[in-house]
Amino acid sequence: MSSFRWRTIAWFAWYRGQSGQWAQLLHRITGLGIVFFLGLHILDTSLVGFGPSVYNTVTAIYHNFVVRLLEVVLVGLVIYHALNGLRVTVIDLWDEGALYQAQMWGVVILLFLVLFLPSAFLMLAPYFR
């Protein structure tokens, strides 16, 4: 009866935030978000084959401010996923990588802010002029 609920509780209990589990959970959530957008993006770009009026009409959706906010989120997902993917690769390839995974996650968060905040500013500034 409650096996689903117990499994869910057990799953959250397992994610105690130890040993890079939050880093890994975020890696998956960002990855799933990106691949979902990429599927949509393949479909919207394929419309270019139907000529200017179809493509320009459909991609006008992206000019909406709310969608622009989602686009900023997308850039954030990609930056985190890229930087943390690099961290995972270093953990895999460097003998002592696993010992420094927590410090490297700190570097990932720092670099994320350094890359994401100016990007978000550049993307949103035109709307406030």
């Binding site: 990429l38 599927g39 393949i42 479909l43 084959g49 000529g51 493509y55 690769t89």
Partner: protein
């Protein structure tokens, strides 16, 4: 004891090894290719600029067609394989896992063909771009 008679060692293939290697190599390439793509298309100019004429002008150069094709292939297969790994972890029922994995690769293949064919076959109409 390893490899007792009652539980024969499963036939091993190198699939997961190749999958791991592919994710690292494609990830490293995507780190560069995708961040350049985002910087050009989303961050340093408003998305309003990206219309039919913009795409037609861009794809007038074979270099950008190849760039987009490589980005599509690496990004989409990296993303689909990531979803496969997440489903292996999180879907416990073997039947659902098999069904959804098959569906994933079917939809993935169809979208890859749609995306690749438009990059290959797109022809700007006379006077556009």
């Amino acid at each position: 004891m390893l490899g007792s008679a009652s539980s024969p060692r499963p036939r091993t293939t190198n699939f997961e090894l190749w999958s791991w290697l592919f994710m690292r190599v494609s990830g490293a390439l995507l780190l560069i290719l995708l961040l350049i793509h985002l910087a050009i298309m989303h961050v340093t100019q408003p998305i309003e600029n990206v219309n039919f004429a913009f795409v037609a002008a861009r794809w007038a150069s074979p270099l950008w067609r190849w760039y987009d094709l490589v980005l599509l292939g690496l990004g989409w297969v990296h993303g689909l394989n990531g979803v496969r790994v997440v489903m292996d972890d999180w879907i416990h029922s073997p039947g659902w896992r098999l069904t959804l994995t098959a569906l994933l690769w079917l939809i993935g293949f169809i979208l890859l063909v749609i995306g690749a064919q438009v990059i290959f076959s797109f022809q700007a109409p006379a006077g556009a771009g």
